[in-house]
């Protein structure tokens, strides 16, 4: 992709007019980072021009939409948009959309290709009735239409539909895949990213490529070089070490210091209570606790999370959680 580098890459404002998640969305299956087990099989479908109905299951930002669009580009080339209908089930859910939009698209005449592709994003948002309607539609139009369904959990899709699809599981992207993409974009855009900056982006993204690229672009806007500090600031993320240090003090019984650290995160750094919970949840296994204490901490974090959503005071809830950690050492 480096050949796409704009000639004036050294002018920082250059690529900034585009949204990078769109600009750097891979156009070919081969360009997709990670998913070494899935991509070759999808390429095979394209190569043999023999596409079954597909179901992509996995969390956000793992490349489901990208894979669907890449398949479509490879099959239809330039005019892929004409042969690719993208519907978001959570926007247009209900039985009517299944019946009308899909049918109209599937029925519309088209030239040159044996079939068109309907990509139904967030298919698990469809009601059961709509899924039932969909299943027969899939079969009815299978002579000229292929469906690609995306969902978070395949188990939310009714069995008759699963039975009609080849199912692919998109797992969270590995850090290496995200790092490779981040470095590639940085090079193309001609922005300077420090190594700890890359690590910070990877950490903040937590397996979500979309988040990583957004973080990189936002951080790039902030200044000449993208370093750890900018990334953590832009993503409202604390350094994992800070979080761990805060908990460490609490475990050691120095509640005042732990509370001061929490105060800093919430006020100075602008983290929301939920952000702190999320990070603690990720860092829990790195703490100096035995595993039963860790499990208790996780459950307690859940309680904090739940109570905050219910309207409790996030600072007080987190403080209570920190205070309780001292008990782990005593017992």
């Amino acid at each position: 992709m480096s050949e796409d580098a704009p000639a004036d890459a050294d002018a920082p404002a250059a690529g900034r007019a585009d949204v990078w998640i769109e600009k750097y969305r891979p156009e070919r299956l081969a360009d997709i980072k990670g998913h070494g087990d899935i991509v070759p099989r999808l390429e095979r479908y394209v190569a043999t021009d023999d596409l079954p109905h597909l179901m992509f299951a996995g969390p956000a930002g793992t490349g489901k939409t990208t894979a669907a669009q890449s398949i479509s580009r490879e099959i239809y080339g330039e005019n892929w948009r004409d042969n690719f209908l993208e519907l978001n089930a959570s926007d247009e859910r209900g039985i009517d959309v299944v019946r009308d939009r899909i049918k109209n698209f599937a029925r519309a005449s088209f030239g040159g290709h044996d079939y068109r592709i309907i990509f139904l994003d967030e298919a698990d948002a469809l009601t059961k009735d709509a899924q039932s309607a969909l299943r027969r539609t899939m079969e009815q139009f299978s002579h000229n239409t292929r469906f690609i369904l995306s969902c978070n959990y395949s188990s939310q899709i009714i069995d008759p539909i699963q039975s009609r699809c080849a199912v692919f599981r998109f797992t969270e992207l590995e850090d290496a895949a995200i790092e490779a993409q981040v470095r590639e974009i940085a090079e193309t855009e001609g922005i300077e990213v420090t190594d700890d900056g890359v690590d910070a982006v990877v950490y903040a993204a937590a397996g979500d490529m979309r988040k990583a690229i957004n973080a990189l672009q936002a951080a790039a806007v902030m200044g000449e070089t993208v370093d750890e500090e900018t990334v953590f600031a832009i993503t409202a993320t604390a350094r994992p070490e800070e979080v761990e240090a805060m908990v460490g003090r609490a475990i050691d019984g120095d509640f005042t210091a732990a509370r001061a650290a929490l105060e800093d995160l919430l006020t100075e750094r602008g983290l929301a209570g939920g952000d702190v919970v999320d990070q603690l949840h990720r860092s829990a296994w790195a703490l100096d606790l035995d595993e039963r204490a860790t499990v208790r901490l996780l459950e307690r974090l859940g309680e904090v999370d739940y109570r905050i959503t219910e309207g409790a005071n996030e600072r007080l809830q987190l403080e209570a959680m920190l205070a309780s950690l001292a008990l782990e050492h005593e017992s």
Binding site: P40, R41, R44, Y45, T48, D49, D50, P52, H53, M55, A57, I95, D96, V98, R99, K103, T127, K128, D129, S132, A133, L134, R135, R136, T137, E139, Q140, S142, H143, Y153, S154, S155, Q156, D159, P160, Q162, S163, R164, C165, A166, V167, F168, R169, T171, E172, H281, W285, E291, R292, T294, V295, L298, E299, L301, G302, D305, Y306, T309
Partner: protein, 518 residues
């Protein structure tokens, strides 16, 4: 290249595999149609060949097909126009018999707001049809009682591995795909009775390699039981808490499903204090699932996962060894088996509710248990006869309530006496057979249209609940309780038994299926 499930769809009934009995019954139904003029309900799990068989039948009989399915608008007037017309008037163009076959696909799915009135219309069309009608359905008991009674029933069972493998082999030969026999067997194994999935998997794998081997046969979701068994082994035997959590990311089960797996299998490894600890974590996980349901806040799923993976692993006092036979949650087995039982319960409750003027829930919760107790094992015969007459119960329904075997002479004679009683009352136009101050409208009194209507209304209000949310809740909540109280032996007794006669195995079980639900 086409979808193999379409390419290799059987074009004649004799090519329909794995359901010989159902296939013959279908042909027989069609050949005798001029005599009995009833519609047929073809029901069974997804992918076993119901729709294929219906089309193949039409081809064999030389009948043109008129097809309606849930992805067509199913408002009453559409159904009346299309199916009503098609079934009343023969085709002009088709020569020969002038017959045509009306296929109503997804006949169990005529409910929901979009299809308001559809179900009633189907029942009417089916009754008045002058052309053969085949209704295709997954869930037999999702259809109204009236509709079911008006039709001949043909059940398609899950296709056995023995029948799937030859189909795959045949396709391989025709596609020129080389294969190892073991690979085909692995595919057949992993699709558990779903022939269509098997063909899909075959196509997916065949495209990747020149020669199919067992190693190739690992297709996405459908390998899941393998993954889950390995996971349980790790979780319960020796994984650290952190390992247990991380490994669970690779298991494609939602926390609710995983909870069922773990809960069911943990006592096979843990005992005493560690089991109690593990259950404390499972109970916390369950509370998180409840919070997810209540708030729709799916981020809480992670706390459920923490508890049920890391928590359970951390509860283990010492590593376990050896080989353990893990099984799928008995509640699933139960669910599969009791699906028809639950539907039967609801179908009875609906009639009781109609007759007594209560809600379905009240009938289920407050009337059926008493009826069941009063008529236990038909000991009070006279009362049982009157009950059967009042609610129009057939032998299997009677068996369900009383716990006596459906095929026994006892039950048979009660059903006969009840029928006599109903006839007698119809003549007298007299009061009520059961509960002296009640509504005398048993189903069998011959007033077809009225009964049908009230039955349908009840069916629709019931159907309103069959949304995704309710189903989840139902599966995870109410039915979860069943698991706890049901002994395993009971659940595994009749796994392959015909759901239509599922209650038959309750013959000696004084509790009958019913008591599981209270």
């Amino acid at each position: 290249m086409a979808d193999w499930t379409e390419t290799y769809r059987p074009t004649t009934l004799s090519a329909v595999r794995g359901n010989d009995k159902a296939r013959d019954a279908l042909r027989n139904w069609a050949e005798r149609w001029e005599d009995h003029r009833k519609a047929a309900i073809v029901h069974g799990s997804p992918g076993v060949g119901k729709t294929s068989a219906a089309h193949a039948l039409a081809a064999d009989m030389g009948w043109p097909v008129m097809e309606l399915n849930a992805s067509d608008d199913r408002q009453a007037d559409v159904i009346k126009r299309v199916a009503g017309e098609a079934s009343k008037t023969g085709t002009l163009t088709a020569g020969g018999s002038g017959r045509r076959l009306v296929i109503l696909d997804e006949a169990d799915n005529f409910h929901g707001n979009a299809d308001y009135g559809g179900a009633r219309e189907v029942t009417r069309v089916v009754k008045e049809a002058t052309q053969p009608v085949v209704l295709v359905a997954n869930e037999f008991y999702d259809m109204s009682n009236t509709l079911r009674n008006a039709c001949e029933t043909i059940e398609f069972r899950d296709v056995s591995k023995r029948s799937i493998v030859p189909v795959l082999r045949d396709i391989c030969r025709r596609e020129g795909v080389e294969y190892d026999e073991a690979a085909l067997e692995a595919i057949a194994d992993s699709t558990s009775g779903d022939l269509r999935s098997a063909v899909n998997d075959l196509q997916a794998v065949a495209e990747e390699t020149d020669r199919l081997t067992v190693e190739d046969v690992v297709t996405g979701e459908r390998d899941r039981t393998e993954g889950i068994f390995e996971y349980l082994d790790t979780l319960l035997k020796n994984a650290s808490a952190e390992e247990a959590l991380k490994a669970s990311y690779d298991v494609d089960e939602t926390p609710d499903e995983l909870l069922n797996w773990v809960e069911d299998n943990v006592p096979k490894e843990y005992a005493g204090g560690e089991l109690a600890d593990a259950y404390e974590f499972l109970s916390q996980a369950d509370r998180w699932l409840g919070r997810v349901r209540a708030t729709q806040e799916y981020t809480y799923w992670r706390y459920a996962s923490d508890n049920l993976t890391a928590g359970v692993a951390a509860s283990r006092r010492e590593p376990k060894g050896g080989w353990t036979r893990y099984g799928p949650p008995s509640y699933w087995r139960k669910l599969g088996q009791t699906r028809s039982t639950r539907d039967r319960r609801d179908s009875i409750a609906r009639r009781v509710a109609d007759a007594e003027g209560t809600s379905l829930a009240t009938a289920r919760r407050e009337l059926l248990p008493y009826l069941s107790a009063m008529t236990h094992h038909c000991r009070n015969r006279d009362l049982t006869v009157r009950m059967a007459a009042a609610y129009g119960l057939d032998a299997s329904e009677l068996s369900f309530i009383t716990g006596s075997g459906a095929d026994t002479n006892k039950v048979g004679s009660i059903v006969e006496d009840a029928a006599d009683l109903v006839a007698e009352q119809a003549v007298e136009k007299g009061g009520n057979a059961f509960f002296d101050a009640g509504d005398p409208s048993p189903d069998d009194t011959g007033d077809g249209s009225e009964t049908a209507e009230s039955d349908e209304t009840a069916a629709e209000s019931g159907d309103g609940q069959v949304t995704l949310g309710a189903t989840l809740e139902d599966a995870a909540g109410a039915d979860g309780e069943d698991t706890v109280t049901d002994s395993e032996g009971d659940g595994s007794a009749n796994q392959t038994d015909d759901p239509g006669s599922a209650s038959a195995h309750d013959e000696d079980d004084g509790q009958s299926g019913l008591s599981d639900f209270f």
